[in-house]
Symmetry: C2
Subunit: 126 residues, 2 copies
């Protein structure tokens, strides 16, 4: 395996958080996790491939929904324990709720207020 994968500081579960940011708008779309294989494949296939902690297997973003994230840039932080990806979000929807971004709730006066619209009914996506 490559040196660049050894440079990553994997956590005790062998994972690293990966943030996906829209390469054009700068909108933060989601954060998920990658294991070594997922990160290697992300670089190899130029698309975001995560590791699903709940399903305990690789998660090729878009495999069901078609909402693939094409990779434009991959960055590592100073502590080598967080990844940022610049991506092109196919379909303009990253969230399983049918919204552009998973971060659709804003804190206001002590409550989480949903501010972003559902762009597509999840039933039509999955």
């Amino acid at each position: 395996m490559s040196n660049w994968l050894d440079a990553v500081k994997w956590d005790e579960d062998g994972l690293i958080p990966a943030i996906a940011q829209d390469h054009k708008t700068g909108r933060i779309l989601m954060m998920a996790w990658m294991n070594r294989e997922a990160l290697a494949l992300t670089a190899e296939e130029n698309r975001a491939i995560y590791y699903s902690r709940s399903r305990k297997k690789l998660w090729r973003k878009g495999e069901e929904s078609g909402h693939v994230q094409h990779l434009h840039e991959l960055r590592l932080d100073c502590d080598a324990d967080v990844i940022v990806m610049q991506v092109e979000q196919v379909g303009g929807i990253a969230c399983h709720t049918g919204r552009e971004s998973c971060f659709y709730r804003v804190w206001k006066d002590g409550e989480w207020v949903t501010t972003d619209p559902v762009l597509k009914d999840p039933k039509e996506i999955y």
Copy 2:
């Protein structure tokens, strides 16, 4: 304690990842962790307050460096297990290396290449 803190899905260590994004440029500055107290104080004091996993205590970002992060917006994701903050980065430096962002290394042909300049010598910061 407030309901909005109960809505957060804390991990087994009682933490949640918090991403700081420059509210003007959209640049992702850093990702660190918060515990319940840190998140409560972040909202109360309108500045980013993290929990340092290495030092095992609250980390009032900027307490030593002066590089405080003023809070403009706080968001929660669909799974309630990641936070995004829009912040105003005092001094224009978020990273302890003296760079604007902690994500200063870009993947290129199988290597992490440092692309961003050091804006201020860390010895002058700390």
